[in-house]
Subunit: 232 residues, 6 copies
């Protein structure tokens, strides 16, 4: 079932869009076409509520331009603009944050989210409560690594993430880890092997879940809050 | 205690900004200065998730321009951009939606929100869950009156709201009503008298609560999710 | 990515296993091999708590026999034995009930489950609370159609389901329907078209989600409650 | 808008009533008249469930005597007798506990309550759950300082509160502190400055919120649980 | 195991105390001594928040006088003063409201409470949330029969209760009924037989649960919120 | 009121059935007859989800054989098969896990469960959420003592439990302990005396609660999810 997926990175850092694109291709079906775009304007990374608002007009413009797709992935763990994008399209639209948490819920009893800055924690908490999955999440742990620093793959950043995973297992009694930033995607496999528990990368889940929803012939509801915007 | 409040209307309809300004002045302290502004761009009314995202850049620009104030009121019942605006300032920032619901919680046991279009219901539900007040709200009732139609004060729109208030009392066992749109402000007093229960207008609550927080010498927290945006 | 999925029907009715197998093949990837089995013993359909317990030994025996797979789907909307099966294997194990509800959560704001007998409602409610998704479900509606009667596709059974969908939209304000029985799979497409909202079939979601989890390289956690059974 | 507020201290310690009166005057509007009274009988401080019951008859008698006011503040952080007093009057009645928590919810993402004895913690937990605000409160921390010892402003009591604030920031990830006793009022400003986050005093919030509700023309609902007591 | 139970009626109506006493004796063990007392002062029935506060001093005085017992039952469905009485004693103290709801939770999937006046509904809702059992209660239905009218056993009052039970089964999908007033005790058996589902009387549950806790050698915790009142 | 109780041990270890029988007799009424049985097949102890499923057919067969009783106690803290057994009978059926938690809720403000292996924690968490009592439980603490090791009463196992009780008081602020395994029954009295707080043994509570429900003339609801299994 050939399909075309838009992977929309809400930030404007081209190198991150590029990594996201590569990672999406790695897990997608052979006949899925990945169209990766970054926000046309706005902040170079999404760190908290303000950035999440500041990137929206550039993000929505990109979705408008690429609306001939079979599904959309919002490639920021904050699921920035997810509800607004769902209003624009009939095809399935998934966020990498929600996808990771839905996936972890089907693989474990309780998960910990390991994210970047502590200022993002309330954003993620609000999302988890809205999705209904807050009761499945033992804790959201901030590493205080800025998003763009993750790109450089400094050994010390991985070390900090490792320490939080150890604490998640010992203190939170979690049996899965959700990596709370698109910039952590490349670490998932290695950390899974090291710790012997699911270390869930949202991008991989979002791409394969979008494919799953398309394959199951499902579409975004247009009769309620996700209906097309009405004329004023 | 003289103070200056910014009342920011997230939509771009000048007549609504004007009504909001008048209503704010009616309840504010004699020595409070009200600065009412509309969004610089974006939709003429905020009806659902998409409009809430589309108005943000124009709204944030207005706040940026008027940041020499003692407090801010976001004058849309969806509390559009509330978290982002809190990141921009140290002074108190309140939404009319949250204010009405906090007020109703101190005046009644359970309230019903009577709002405009049903497409806004999920927006309000997500807010109530985030604020923690969902358990105080018996139900959110849509009248399916478009926001801008409220301006005209057609008798039939008031009649529809009346009918929903009756249902709120009889079916939801609510003992207060929250009017779920800035455009309904002028109806609060009349409906309170007619039905003999608190009919809460968010704008009045938001203006007087912003004054209350300023008078109590309180400011928005800058150490967590509402910290000033960080450089990237 | 060729894979083999076990689709385990907890009831012992061969014709239902056969329909389930066909439906699974319809949505699965071209190179996915579907192995469909029914419970070796136990009741011909799962209608409530007792049947859910009575089928378990026959179900677990079948999983034990077919444990050389890449993923497992439990093909009863009650997600019968889901936790126990997860303890037996490292590969992903998903239930059709949970899958449908996770999917509906990514396509709509609020869904109604339309199921068979009212005696199953508390089983589903307990599951939704455990999954964390109860807040996304407006209501579980029983049609009081016995499971095995669904097989015959009597026009009147479809009519009853139709009526419940109408009530879900009007009274529950739901913008998606989840079909709460594996026997309703064949109705999803038709009802989606008729009502213009997502009518979610759990089997399709479970098969494509199991494929998605395998493609994303994810496995069931073995360090917590889903660890392999310990020797006594 | 000239108004008269009854500030009712549920305990019978005159010096506390006096401090409460002074603190109320400090934040109230210039034309607000503060009438501060203590309970006519009952315990010298409210420490837990028993004291909360034992002071009620003396407290309700005082409210009965001073019912010619525009609003009432219950000046104990346990919000002692709040529901009963609401039944007696049509004017707004607010507790200092609820007011502080509503205020903190509009200034921060998550707050910690720092209170006196650990025996009061379940009282406050029950209140927060009833108000709906439990999800906004990260933790209630007891200092084990008796209420009346706070009056003396011993340096060591401030030191203990300081230590709990540090723990609230570091361990609870809270971005606001709520001071959980009327006797801590005088510390709010100093601790706010020291720690650079909102340290919320309930008395200030309650006085200014009562004024806000009066200014917004709102009254306690009389049609539900807060209706005037019925004849038997 | 001979024991003495105090059954404390928070209202001051002697005939109700007498009925309560008789009903308690009917279900208690042969060697249990029932000491039934009414409040020394306060309202003739407890109808809402105000009465619940007004009866407390008379109720606590009675408990003080009869503290040489092995267990206490608070015989008002509002569980009036329950927390305060627990602070006074080491023996088990149970309310008839909580007992009925705990019992119904062990006999059914979901129960409806059928109570007297609608002004009592918020009292009961707050209790259920505090006990943690709100999720087990489908709805609280008011019959608007005043408490004291129940005494007369007018056929029309039973008819009203019957109608609410029918609605509980049909609309709330409840499979048990909790009678929400001590004055309804005598109806439980008859209505159970008529409707073929558990119609739970709190007084019977409270007496036998108090006996059960005593027989299991359990006592009220004295190390937390139920510790003996501290000197001031 | 002479009655016969079936105490069904879901595991197949005869010595545990024997201890359970003795403990049940110790707290039961003089004229109650205790019939204690173990599962006919299945694992020697119930440690987690898989064992809980594997023991069911042997457990249900035993209940079928002994259905001429006045009440049933499921004697495993996981309340294994509780819902299924309720479908088989009209008499009250209680689990030792639920009974302990209902009892602790009437004796304390917040309890900690101290159980055996950490793999059982998610089983107990799911139960607590289903019962509605999760909000009353501060934490579930695993000692990592295997069930069968408890039989030997090694001093070091008691020491480990003691340490967890200390942590429950200090860190969880719990004022009651629930012993999370039938094998810990014999420790309850000693630990209660040592720590001066209720240390609740589920078996004692379940036996006396089953007696209480029988004495109060209550039966399992047969009109909803606990109705007798229907023919297929």
């Amino acid at each position: 079932m050939a399909m075309k997926l838009l992977v929309a990175n809400p930030n404007s850092t081209a190198s991150m869009t590029e990594s996201i694109s590569r990672a999406a291709r790695r897990v997608s079906r052979p006949d899925t076409q990945i169209v990766a775009v970054g926000s046309l304007s706005g902040p170079p990374s999404i760190q908290g509520f303000f950035d999440g608002a500041a990137c929206l007009s550039g993000l929505l413009a990109q979705v408008e331009r690429h609306n001939d797709v079979d599904g959309v992935v919002i490639a920021c763990f904050d699921d920035t603009g997810l509800d607004a994008v769902r209003c624009m399209l009939e095809v399935p639209v998934v966020g990498i944050g929600e996808s990771a948490c839905h996936a972890a819920s089907m693989l474990s009893n309780k998960f910990t989210v390991v994210t970047t800055l502590s200022r993002s924690v309330p954003v993620l908490e609000a999302n988890l409560i809205k999705y209904g999955l807050a009761s499945r999440c033992a804790r959201i742990r901030a590493t205080d690594i800025p998003v763009l620093k993750l790109e450089h793959k400094f050994p010390e950043t991985t070390e900090i993430i490792r320490r939080e995973i150890e604490l998640s297992i010992r203190e939170d009694q979690s049996d899965a880890i959700v990596l709370g930033c698109a910039g952590m995607t490349s670490l998932a496999e290695q950390l899974t092997n090291e710790f012997g528990l699911p270390v869930v990368d949202g991008l991989s889940c979002a791409v394969t879940f979008a494919e799953a929803l398309v394959a199951a012939n499902l579409r975004t509801s247009k009769i309620g809050g996700y209906g097309f915007p009405v004329a004023h």
